[in-house]
Symmetry: C5
């Protein structure tokens, strides 16, 4: 999760030149094809991109490509489906802002898949979709299992998935990704609740570092989700001919989810900022407490020590020193001073 | 009032799958039906959802469902009124953002009911409405009494309620909920006024915690009310055929209320932020006061003690020690130094 | 000037129910009628609302009602001028946000009258206007003298007032209220200038409290004026048939004033925030000054006292003690140390 | 440069009443007329406003009025050019927000002239323009020399000025004023650069006061320039018949300048805020440095003094006192403690 | 990278007067011409601007001018291509805000080229483009190598460049500049990551200065990129006849890049602000740590020293002094007090 991705390799190259930007997250590239129409559903793994082509009949195919770093493969797929060179460039560049581009004969959507690792880190991965009249291409950085529920539903044949067109499949895939965002929010929400406790009970620099790690994760989350708002809204309002009205209702539902996620992110951001304020206030309050102790001790013992040091002077003519009651009298005066001081502090509520 | 609701159970399920998200707030589900037209008003409790159906004549029915966790029941009601599966999904999910969805043959509105408990906590509950040509369905998490005034007016037959259609009933229900927001604001407003006193008089970490609890409650309030602005505005501008012009005037009034609530929330938020600034300033001012005492004490007694310690040295040749006036002279010098210091502090306004 | 008005009495009542919200600011309700047309101008006081009715000829009447807490009276007036029940509800509720509502046969405007008391408090009062084809109704909480200049101009017959229709009268009344806002701004501006001096010269908690009182007053001011921007703009763009083009030019002028007031409020808010920053910086700078004094004193006297205490030890074998020059030598060393310390402090600019 | 202008004199007067608001900046009112058409250019000074009138032929006249406090004069000019009373009121009121008003037969523009005095104060002066088909009236508070370059170009006859209509003259005048804003920005920019140095090198309350003076000047600047953005944009998009297309290109250029000025003001505001943050951080860092010195001194000398005071006790049975090596041993222990403390501080990087 | 550019030389000059604003970055002015059409590509250097003219056939020419300080040269080029005087003025003024102006027969674009020097400073340079039907003029402050990749592609003849019109060439040039922005972001991103480490590990005023240098660089970056958003968007939506539809797709891609850069700048700005907060929190936490040490030392040794000073008093009648166990008893009591204090501090987690 670096602040800025390295893309220097790309500078100066002609536009449309395929350059893979980002970490290589998988060694091989997997290509899984689902070809279905109502009752029928064929699933196969493909290694030669020339086997892929848009269906000519009314069936729907979904090609799920895991890995975008093999540029010749991308080009071959692009040739099979007549994809624009800029689109291929965007797929290979994993540092894209989420967006929906309308290329008339197909729609191009870039999204981020978010997940939380076991060590509570945030993983960001890019997924690109191409939605044609009766095909969906999905390009993942590696073949994660975010689409597993959709694959299972396709295989099982239950629900609306097989009865509907490519647009509904596209919706199902996007919805699966957006559903994962809620899991990430849940994890972050729990961390923030824990943090708020820590920050009041024991403000330490480590806590501060946690606050900033959360701040940074929320920033990344926002960057991933915020532009999706516009993109999903564009889906539900698109006049693209192969997006059917009933599917648009489903996209509006995704849009609602994205808006809610954006809302929640803003709330979490405010709570993290509040945590920082609590941290500073706690530190500042503790400083006060420490200083009060220091002041009380100093204020009590300085006058007492001063009195003792007076009678420690070696003058020959100090009449008190000879007095039999001198010592107890001085001790008594000291006791009175200490008691008076303590009462003054109590009155000022310093103790 | 958790920052993020748990909805992991939902992840990976096909869209339109009914999953109840949120706490189960009631054991049984109650269904109350009001069926009225002008002079007539029948009220009955229903247990079998198949008894429910949209009226065929010009009467209006209102079905108030208390409890959204029984998913088969929701589905049965959905079947009776031909509700979209996504709509049912939204009803079962109590972590919705307020919104108005237009499904052409009915409108779907999600809102939050807010109330303040006796221990001054904020309770949030979701209510969903379906407004058809001559029916209103209201789904509450449990059957609270927020609609009691409306029920009473229906029973009594006074006012416009029975003379008007389903749209006016819908308005009456929404208005009842929005009216409760003012009560919540009143309670929060009072707490904030109290807090501002405390924060100046006695800034303690507990006060800080109260500030943050209020901040959080206002954040929740804003999340509940802000999107309602858009939704109620959409009502007053809707071209939906079963929303009559005279009723839209009433919805514009609700919209005005919501705008005023949003305004007040922003004011309260600013006052809470101001409280935090006062807290920090008070703590910082008190630190100054403490430090001044410390400095005054130290500055007065350090030189005096130093002088005393000089004449406590055991050198054999210290002529002052033998002088008869040595002791009173030293005491006099000490007195002068102390008086001079005090005057210097007075001049700098430290005392 | 409470943060949130008490309106609990209203909760649960049917819409359109008249409930007076706010303090009762007058005992009786006064009703003054001006009935004029060109040269003619009759002024009379009315006690029975049934005497009031919209003029049938081309004359204009202005009814100025002082007091909105007598609900039966409001209803009677509403009946005479066929006013919508929601409008009457809004008049009786003095906790309204400024707004302009178009009821087709009349316009309804709610505004706030602001004034500064002699003790520099801010007084907020609500005024509602109903503008019909040839009548203006104005509802004040009590009969203040904000309209006195307009009454005088009507009586005197000078200027455009009598020559123009109800719309121009309405403009004159609104303009009189907006003019008063400038007086309030002037008073606040002066207070803020004074405050800025105080905050640098002598930062005390009382000054802080003043800062917050001003912050709050500006917040109230903004809430009263901000929505008026939209309302006056709507006036100058309205296509309402009884708002004549020449009058709209005047309303555009009012709009310009409101925009300028909003601008000035924002400037004042920024200056108040700046005052708070000065306060904190001053306190923090003073803490530094105090701490430097403490450190200088401690750093000079601690080593000196330490040396003195060494020669106060009672070891039998301390050769320096017997030396004749021991005492003056030690005093000399102490003097050198003190001088060295002072020089070091001067160099660091601590003195 | 007061926060709020005094305009109480105006309250309660009928609209359109001429009242001069602002300081009287000149004693007499000067009126200079330029009457030109291509090759011809007559310049004369006028004392009687009745000599002024819009030209009937194709020549252009520019009347530059210096001083707006003589209200009868303003009225006489208004009568000659048929100006709307509200427009005259706006001219006499020097506390106007910049704006462009379209009165159909003429355009009315209010702007602020800004200049920096030799003592680095910001001077704000109001200029109003009336642009008719073939005349331009400019009203200044006093006759400054901001228009000198335009006068010179008119006299010299070079450039496009005499060949073009009144609209181009108007542009030239507005452009001359906007050009001056850049000078003000330059001066402020230099002050801010200087300040940033001071704030790190030597943070004093005086520096703080400078920060706030700059903040205030930028606030005034923004208030003067921000609304001009909209006004100049309106010029370049106006469909007013006597604004010719080629001139609109020039107004678009002015608009670009204004946008750039607004941008620069925002940048300067951010840098001033940054200065304040540096100030606070520097003060806080210095406090740390002071406290470290105090702590180091205290921590080293307190234990040493304590040891010395132990052997200053007068117990009869203290075997160490009789020991021959007691004194050097104690001195040695003291040296070790001091060395150990110093090493510990070095390790914590406090020294 | 000054906050405000010096442009005083310009004030008072007639509009359209050419004045060079900015540093003179090159001595001579270079003019390179590429004249190409499909297979053909001629490259030559020109010294006399009269050799330049728009091509009459279907070939495309690109004139790359390095240096804008020779005003007569600019005027000569302007005459050859019939450029508007304001446009030339904008080219000569290197303190322009990025913008796109549509002069109907050509488009005018101003951009900033950004680069990072080896000492990590940010270099800003202005480039202006004029795009005609079949020519592109590019004006750089000096002839940097930002266009080298485009020149190479033109020479090599590979890719789409020679097959397409002037609009595609324009796109290639703009894309080359925008690609460089990513390099600048990369460099800034790395600096910010480094800074965040430093700020926690060792907060020093130097670090603070670095924070502000970064803040300032990001501010400059934002000013350079933000308006480009609008300009590139205008390109992709322009209805200019010589901007072909396929090229607009490429400009939309540039727009996407600019939006992403703006996003990243905002993220970096938030992280820099966070760094400042960490700095302040670290300093404040360290102050606490220092104060705790001071308080612990003082609190332990003050009472001990006081006890020692009591038995250092010279009263004749102090029975403890004669006691054989007096000395060890006092030492024991001191040890107990010290141990008790240490335990109390441990309990409060101060040690």
């Amino acid at each position: 999760m670096k602040l800025v991705q390295k893309r220097s390799r790309k500078t100066g190259l002609p536009p449309g030149t395929l350059v893979h930007i980002g970490e290589k997250k998988a060694d091989t590239v997997t290509m899984t094809v689902f070809d279905y129409a109502g009752a029928r559903c064929d699933e196969r793994t493909v290694t030669n991109p020339e086997e892929l082509r848009p269906p000519v009949d009314e069936s729907v195919i979904w090609v799920d490509i895991g890995g975008v770093h093999k540029l010749d493969l991308l080009e071959a797929i692009g040739a099979q489906f007549s994809l624009h060179p800029l689109l291929l460039e965007d797929i290979a560049n994993t540092d894209q802002r989420p967006k929906l581009d309308d290329y008339e004969s197909y729609l191009f959507l870039v999204m981020k898949v978010l997940s939380v690792t076991e060590t509570h880190d945030l993983l960001v991965e890019q997924v690109s979709f191409v939605l044609g009249r009766n095909f969906v291409l999905s390009f993942q950085e590696n073949g994660t299992d975010v689409f597993k529920p959709v694959r299972d539903r396709l295989r099982g044949g239950k629900g609306r998935l097989r009865q509907n067109g490519a647009d509904y499949l596209m919706y199902a895939l996007v919805d699966a990704i957006v559903d994962q965002y809620f899991l990430v929010l849940e994890s972050l929400g729990e961390k923030i609740e824990l943090l708020q406790e820590k920050v009041v009970a024991d403000p330490k620099p480590d806590t501060l570092r946690e606050v900033y790690a959360l701040k940074r994760q929320l920033l990344f989350l926002r960057r991933a989700v915020w532009p999706l708002r516009e993109a999903t809204n564009a889906f539900s309002r698109s006049d693209c001919p192969f997006l059917h009205e009933p599917t648009k209702v489903f996209f509006r539902d995704v849009y609602d989810h994205v808006v809610q996620i954006v809302d929640t992110i803003e709330t979490l951001r405010e709570m993290v900022s509040a945590s920082l304020d609590i941290y500073l206030s706690s530190v500042s309050y503790r400083l006060n407490a420490v200083m009060r102790v220091l002041t009380v001790i100093t204020t009590i013992f300085m006058p007492l020590s001063f009195i003792a040091s007076i009678y420690g002077m070696n003058f020959e003519h100090m009449p008190e020193l000879q007095s039999e009651w001198g010592y107890p009298a001085v001790l008594g005066v000291m006791g009175l001073i200490a008691a008076g001081m303590l009462m003054a502090f109590r009155q000022r509520r310093w103790l």
